[in-house]
């Protein structure tokens, strides 16, 4: 999340009016040391593999980013025009830091990189994404993932 003071006034007003979901509890668990964990990325930047269907208004589904994907394989189709894309255009790691994860795995800072990563299109009611999130969680568990970095754009 960025500083509100860095945004145009109308965008600040919009941001302040967004509803914040409330949850009954905060699940909090501990696990293995980071150097043993298998890490996946989840972005809300509306990323899809080139040739896949772009995201549309109200999209609550997700796209799979294979672990061996490169920046030229991916296309961004988030519906919002209210965030910077030039950083992503110059370097996909500013949104999806897959190169950094690969380095950290090589260096032993994390155990391994997941076989798949995932992207939503974040301008959607979070409650509508819950079924897709549960589905992704099942795929992650089957892949042995035990650490997830969520990257809201």
């Amino acid at each position: 999340m960025a500083r509100l003071s860095d945004m145009p006034e109308t965008l600040q007003k919009h941001m302040r009016a967004l509803p914040l979901p409330a949850y009954d509890a905060t699940p909090f668990v501990q696990g293995r040391p980071l150097a043993e964990r298998r890490v996946a990325l989840v972005s809300t930047a509306g990323l899809a593999m080139r040739g896949e269907a772009p995201f549309g208004m109200g999209a609550a589904d997700y796209r799979v980013i294979p672990g061996d994907a490169g920046p030229g394989d991916i296309v961004m189709s988030h519906i919002s025009v209210n965030y910077d894309r030039t950083g992503y255009q110059r370097d996909w790691n500013v949104v999806l830091p897959l190169d950094r994860l690969r380095e950290m795995a090589r260096d032993g800072a994390i155990g391994s990189v997941a076989a798949h990563h995932y992207s939503f299109m974040g301008a959607t009611d979070p409650a509508a994404m819950a079924p897709a999130a549960a589905e992704i969680a099942r795929h992650m568990m089957a892949d042995g993932v035990d650490a997830v970095l969520l990257l809201p754009v």
Binding site: M7, G51, V81, T86, Q89, N93, V94
Partner: protein, 221 residues
């Protein structure tokens, strides 16, 4: 919301890892976020302490940079329509977009599944008040407008950032795009025209999903 573990970052919206083309900076951010997994108690909300460096390196002034893209004056007998002018402008930017692709090995264009030339002609015709056929396979007008804007803005931003002296900063790119380009003016026009459309989906896209808040100043709002 109280998620179990969260790292607040002070970076520009759209750059959750902070700094493009700065692997060391990115690594520190990712390490800080994943380091929260070591917390024994939660929920944990930690502020990341380091600002992203300015685009263009230390000392660069994003606000003071002028994009060196300069478009040639239209031919004297060229039609005075957005369709003609946007197409001509996009064509003039092509060598720089090719330079971007050579430098980066890729382009982010592709969501619409149509050629830039067709997208430029489509947006120009819409701005002229026409009812052009969609260049996007299988898409309705609202989707076509959204995806055409998505790819054309990527094309313009990548092309501008390929030019010598470009800092890659969003402020300078926005000033240039919304203040100087014909495409920017066409989108300002479409926002006004198509948001009155009888097609509610097209009106919604034109009204809310074409112009960013930063463009309001250029629209005289």
């Amino acid at each position: 919301m109280q998620p179990p573990r969260a790292l607040w970052v002070p970076f520009e919206l759209g750059r959750p890892v902070g700094a493009p083309e700065d692997a060391g900076f990115q690594r520190r951010v990712v390490t800080a976020a994943l380091g929260l997994l070591d917390a024994a108690f939660g929920p944990v909300l930690t502020d990341y302490p380091e600002d992203a460096p300015p685009d263009g390196g230390d000392g660069a002034m994003d606000e003071g940079w002028t994009c060196p893209v300069s478009f040639a004056a239209p031919e004297a007998n060229a039609p005075d329509t957005f369709a003609a002018k946007v197409s001509a402008e996009a064509a003039q930017l092509k060598p720089w977009h090719e330079a971007w692709k050579r430098r980066k090995g890729a382009s982010g264009i592709g969501a619409a599944g149509a050629e830039v030339e067709a997208l430029a002609a489509f947006i120009g015709a819409l701005a002229d008040g026409g009812d052009p056929p969609s260049p996007v396979p299988g898409a309705d007008m609202a989707q076509s407008l959204k995806l055409a804007v998505n790819d054309l803005m990527t094309y313009y931003q990548e092309g501008a950032n390929a030019q010598p002296g470009a800092t890659g900063g969003s402020k300078a790119i926005n000033d240039w795009f919304w203040g100087q380009t014909v495409l920017g003016k066409a989108l300002l026009r479409i926002r006004v025209q198509a948001s009155q459309s009888d097609d509610p989906k097209l009106a919604a896209v034109a009204g809310r999903l074409v112009l960013p808040h930063v463009a309001a100043a250029y629209a005289g709002e």
